[in-house]
């Protein structure tokens, strides 16, 4: 196992294939276009953090914003709370997500495929309504406390979702699905003969798991955890909804307030966002340090065995635990969501409160029907476009000697530098004024451009992971056999990457149709999508109709998942990954 960690990988030189000059101009062009799309808005935000005076006015360059923000003890309290909350959540989510991934991908647990679909359903759930569902379930006056209050030995509320543990619990459930989806591929493509070798050498199941399986999956687990950590640092809805009543504040809440209030303090918000720049840089450095120089190759010319680990008497208990996870993380809050669409007022428990009106009105609303079509089109555009762009970026930095590959890797990370509300303002500043975008302003294509840029960190991480796993010898063999680069790419690499490309498409499709914070800056009536309807309903004091839009979004996600499953079956792909 140790020998698998090869000191260095051979990379194909793009220059070698196409000649030194012609070879890399397109790679540089691609990098330049991405840099313009990503770094230009971020540079504008960065400059704003050095601006004195009010937004939009000519002002001197100053460090005063940083002094003001980072000279305050309160900022460090916020940073500390943000970091420890993110750490605890990711640690818990990692435990749950990785165990689930291992059970689904590496064992003979019953209903594995079904459980995988259930985790996807958890991932589809609209985040904001799910948080409110947890308030209705586990708030002091929530359903669970009301039920438990009937027990003779229970005094007062047992659960209080407005607490540190409420935040940790609700967001760890969401993050665990995310970590599951990112780590299943690693477990699935692991060569079982390595585990067999361990057993032959006398190691018990636990030792094999600890010494062979876990180290082999470590890169994927680490990658998923670090990404989830950044995600948790920037998370906003859960913290503001559950944290405010408990006087728990995090950086993202503060940044949101500074960016949204009037007069807004964008200089302060962007200065505070510098923390995320440091965090992302730290994560990239940590990832390089921990994983650098190691090989993650699992798809090679040798083939590999996929034999599930026999759980024996633990098969059904393991299945029961997975189902319990689904019931708690998804079924309970989802039931509240569905129930909410049949209530005149969500959370008002009385028989006279039940109604079909929200569905009737929503389904008759031509805007909702148009939004449904727009949502599907947008999802397809981002799924396809995002996967293509991310695949190209990942290919250049993983599988070539392109001189700018480190820059490219950084570019793909950089949308994570600014939290959503600040990034949205940066995009608005940068894109609305660019003549090149004028013909498409307000169209679905404009939304797709914004969302593709936003999807770079996630899409390129997934695809880079997949590309790391494919051995270079396969392409070299094709090249030696006389195949051109294009033929090699089309006939060797593309089929091997098909599962991860499908995964990327599905994930980017789903993330795009759920996005809210960027869409509200760019949509028009013609490009209104379901998440905009959800937002309008939520803000307009009609959360029940917002929930209808949320559930329709989930239905679209399920259809997308079903289509991906069908594609997988028809094309003979063993799994999504």
């Amino acid at each position: 196992v140790t020998e698998l960690a090869l000191p260095a990988q051979r990379r194909w030189s793009v220059a070698g294939l196409y000649g030194p000059v012609r070879a890399s101009w397109y790679a540089w062009l691609f990098t330049a276009v991405l840099a313009a799309l990503v770094l230009y808005p971020l540079a504008m935000l960065f400059l704003a953090s050095f601006r004195g005076g009010e937004e939009g006015q000519a002002a001197a360059i100053t460090l005063a914003n940083y002094q003001r923000i980072f000279g305050s003890l309160a900022t460090y309290e916020l940073i500390w709370t943000t970091i420890w909350l993110a750490t605890v959540r990711v640690a818990l989510a990692c435990c749950v997500g990785v165990v689930l991934a291992w059970l689904v991908a590496r064992t003979d647990m019953p209903w594995r495929q079904g459980i995988e679909v259930l985790v996807w359903i958890k991932f589809f759930s609209p985040p904001l309504p799910m948080v409110v569902a947890w308030i209705l379930l586990a708030g002091k006056t929530g359903v669970l406390n009301s039920l438990l209050a009937n027990l003779p030995f229970v005094q007062g509320p047992v659960f209080d979702v407005y607490s540190y543990w409420g935040i940790v619990f609700v967001s760890a459930l969401q993050l665990s699905a995310f970590i599951f989806l990112l780590t299943v591929p690693a477990f699935r493509s692991m060569d079982a003969s390595l585990e067999d070798a361990g057993k032959v050498a006398g190691a018990g199941s636990l030792r094999v798991l600890r010494r062979i399986t876990a180290p082999l999956a470590l890169p994927a687990i680490l990658g998923a955890s670090l990404y989830a950590f950044i995600f948790a640092l920037e998370s906003f809805e859960t913290e503001v909804m559950l944290g405010t009543p408990a006087r728990i504040y995090v950086l993202s809440t503060q940044i949101y307030v500074l960016a949204q209030q009037y007069p807004n303090d964008l200089s302060g918000a962007t200065a505070l966002s510098a923390f995320f720049l440091v965090a992302v840089a730290g994560v990239i450095a940590l990832q390089s340090r921990l994983l650098g120089g190691r090989s993650f190759t699992t798809v090679s010319g040798h083939g590999y065995a996929v034999r599930p680990v026999a759980l024996g008497k633990w098969r059904w208990p393991a299945c029961a635990i997975c189902l319990l996870y689904f019931a708690v993380s998804t079924l309970l809050p989802l039931a509240m969501l569905i129930l909410g669409t049949f209530m005149r007022g969500w959370g008002i428990w009385s028989a006279s409160n039940l109604t079909l009106n929200h569905w009737q009105v929503s389904l008759r609303d031509p805007r909702l029907m148009a939004a449904l079509t727009n949502t599907v089109v947008l999802g397809l555009l981002v799924g396809l476009g995002g996967t293509a762009v991310c695949a190209a970026a990942a290919y250049l930095w993983v599988r070539t000697r392109f001189a700018g590959r480190r820059v490219l890797e950084f570019i793909t990370w950089s949308p994570r530098i600014a939290p959503g509300p600040v990034l949205a303002i940066g995009f608005a500043w940068a894109y609305i004024g660019l003549p090149i975008f004028r013909p498409i302003l307000g169209t679905l294509l404009m939304l797709a451009v914004v969302l593709v840029v936003n999807s770079l960190p996630l899409g390129s991480r997934i695809l880079a992971g997949g590309m790391h796993q494919v051995a270079y010898e396969l392409e070299e063999a094709a090249q030696i056999s006389g195949a051109s680069w294009l033929t090699t790419f089309r006939r060797v690499l593309l089929p091997l990457l098909a599962p991860v490309l499908v995964t990327s498409f599905v994930l980017l499709f789903l993330v795009a149709i759920r996005n809210l914070v960027l869409i509200i800056f760019f949509y028009t009536p013609e490009s209104r999508v379901l998440s905009a309807i959800l937002w309008e309903g939520w803000r307009g004091g009609n959360p029940e109709r917002a929930l209808v839009a949320g559930l329709i979004m989930m239905a679209i996600s399920l259809v997308a998942l079903g289509a991906a499953l069908l594609l997988r079956r028809r094309s003979g792909i063993a799994s999504f990954y």
């Binding site: 405010t244 809440t253 307030v257 309008e536």
Partner: protein, 370 residues
């Protein structure tokens, strides 16, 4: 103008207000039925709409025809120069006698019109399951100092919203019914449940997490769904009503259609339809308000005489926004701030602001309440 508007065929509104939700769609349909002009809108709340408008204006590609919002945004957008002066525009409704207006739509600015009064403020909302009539508060001061209300009040968190500064502007600065000491005492002594924004506060009250919510918000739907909610109005306490306002965006692509919509929305015909459809307050004296029962049946407590009624002046909207964003001490209320520091910081700001704005500005715009 109408002929040109029909040629334009459509109007796009940034903001929601009377065009919000299914009721808004019905209003848009009615307007289209009369004039053959379609209406659509984009909801971007205050800040995102403003940012969009600004970037589009800077790039010379405005998408919106009308900007519709609540204070302080109309005044902000006007100050930035994104709205066209309406003084020389043909808006026949504005030529009607002054007596038809509860508040003259053109009284606040040359660049925007008041479309409707919204959310009268001088009330608290209670959960009747958690608060018996004998315990109903009689005024804001009692809420702030009476130990009976410890742990029973829901209010917003000043770290996440400017609503507390806004409420103090209305109840304290204008109406003189809520002192700074009372605001401080509620946070310091009464252990209020804090929420991220007024809608979250309203929902928590409806669920029974708190007994008393400070101020009105979106309670109507919950009340109609059977939530045990009642509105209390304090006797002798002025009620200050917020407004929804709209203006014509510079370089609008459908300026005539926008003018026709604006004129219709303040005309008797338009107000009648909007008020009936939205069950809202009207701008006009010749149109009957159609308020939800929970507001219509607000109980007067602490006396028998209603306080005076006003609408919020633009200057107060900007004042409250500045007060929140520029005086950091609000944000220390939830975690504790010495009373003297709190009062001094706000009093100093108010003095400076008044000095820069020509003296005290306590007077709001009188409003004919029905």
């Amino acid at each position: 103008v109408v002929d040109a508007a029909k040629q334009e065929g459509r109007v796009l509104v940034y903001g929601t207000g009377f065009l919000r939700g299914v009721e808004g769609a019905m209003i848009a349909q009615e307007f289209q039925r009369i004039y053959g002009i379609s209406v659509d809108n984009v909801d971007g709340a205050g800040s995102p709409s403003f940012q969009r408008l600004r970037e589009e204006a800077k790039a010379g590609v405005p998408t919106a025809d009308i900007y519709l919002a609540s204070p302080p945004w109309p005044a902000v957008v006007e100050k930035e120069g994104f709205l066209v002066s309406l003084q020389d525009k043909r808006l026949p409704a504005l030529k009607e006698p002054k007596s038809v207006w509860k508040v003259d739509p053109a009284s606040m600015s040359e660049a925007y019109l008041v479309q409707a009064p919204i959310y009268p403020n001088g009330h608290v909302v209670i959960n009747t399951k958690l608060l018996q009539p004998a315990d109903y508060p009689k005024n804001f001061h009692e809420l702030a100092v009476d130990p009976r209300y410890i742990g029973k009040i829901a209010w917003v968190d000043p770290k996440t919203t400017g609503d507390v500064a806004f409420k103090w502007t209305i109840w304290g600065y204008i109406a003189n019914a809520l002192s700074l000491q009372d605001v401080w005492a509620i946070y310091a002594n009464q252990k209020p449940a804090l929420y991220a924004d007024p809608p979250a506060e309203a929902e928590a009250l409806a669920r029974g997490e708190a007994a008393i919510a400070m101020g009105l918000s979106t309670f109507e739907a919950a009340a109609e769904a059977g939530a045990p909610i009642k509105v209390l109005r304090f006797a002798d306490t002025p009620v200050v009503t917020n407004i929804s306002a709209f203006g014509l965006v510079k370089q609008a692509q459908h300026p005539n259609a926008a003018l026709v919509l604006m004129n219709w929305a303040v005309s008797r015909e338009g107000q009648e339809f909007i008020t009936q459809t939205r069950r809202s307050m009207s701008l006009r004296t010749d149109v009957t308000d159609k308020l939800p029962d929970v507001l219509q049946n607000a109980e007067l407590v602490g006396g028998t005489k209603k306080g005076a009624a006003y609408v919020l002046a633009p200057v107060h909207a900007v004042f409250s926004a500045d007060l929140h964003s520029k005086v950091e001490v609000w944000r220390r209320l939830p975690t504790g701030v010495p009373q003297a520091d709190f009062e001094t910081a706000i009093t100093d700001f108010v003095k400076q602001w008044e000095a820069a704005n020509g003296g005290p500005q306590h007077q709001a715009i009188p409003f004919v309440e029905r």
